[in-house]
């Protein structure tokens, strides 16, 4: 993992998530902006996936459990597409909130992944 990219990823996921929840609660249905932001979060996860595959070849290896890292990464990649499909099928304000919940979950999971990669307390 690359630290600055993790930062970018978490900030974008938090912004996308917060915005989707706010507009969702305000009554806005999923639109190009909230769906697009969620897809952006997904795209960054795919970039992270590629980086995680090639990083060890450059000596950048996880300090914690690689298996745990990959469980998080694979789980995370599944979440935004599920939320987007939900948003396309069910057109109401709550689907916007669901998009936001998905993005915030990704922020937390990416943060946890960075802890596994960089920080080992034990």
């Amino acid at each position: 993992m690359v630290e600055w990219f993790v930062g970018v990823q978490v900030v974008i996921a938090v912004l996308a998530g917060t915005a989707a929840i706010v507009v969702g609660l305000a009554g806005v249905k999923p639109n190009d902006y909230t769906l697009g932001a969620t897809l952006l979060v997904e795209a960054l996860l795919v970039v992270q996936l590629v980086m995680a595959i090639i990083a060890p070849a450059f000596g950048n290896v996880a300090t914690g459990s690689g298996l745990e890292f990959w469980i998080y990464l694979v789980s995370a990649i599944l979440i935004p597409p599920a939320a987007v499909m939900w948003g396309l099928i069910e057109r109401n304000r709550w689907s916007s909130v669901v998009l936001g919940v998905a993005c915030l979950s990704i922020a937390v999971m990416v943060y946890r992944m960075s802890q596994i990669w960089f920080v080992q307390l034990a």
């Binding site: 298996l67 745990e68 979440i79 939900w86 689907s95 669901v98 998905a102």
Partner: protein, 137 residues
Amino acid sequence: MTSKDSSTATGFGRVLIAVYAVMALGATARSLFQIATKFDDAPVAYLLSALAGIVYIVATVALVRSGAVWFRIAAVAIIFELVGVLTIGTLSLVDAVLFPADTVWSSFGAGYLFVPLVLPVLGLIWLYRVRNPQENR
């Protein structure tokens, strides 16, 4: 459940289901990893984590389905989560060896941003409102 269209899967219930689904995925996957790699460290805690994950799955499914039986299953699953997080949360503060910091319910779910503590409360409020539709928006 007198009214036919009273359902746990509409409106805010949708959001609840989404959060339950994420927790089901997270808690189950993580506890399976822990059981596979470091089960001997804290067998009781990790088994309870797996159980919590399974109950999250049950709650997710039960909230999606309609009908009196599923409503009751959802209520039981959510109450189970609430009792679990309160009991294990307290025990984890008393006995850190038996319940290390990295399980779903430890320290009242602090490792999961207290979602395990907040979620059952919201879930029960939601079930109550679904059952008493005059309070709905």
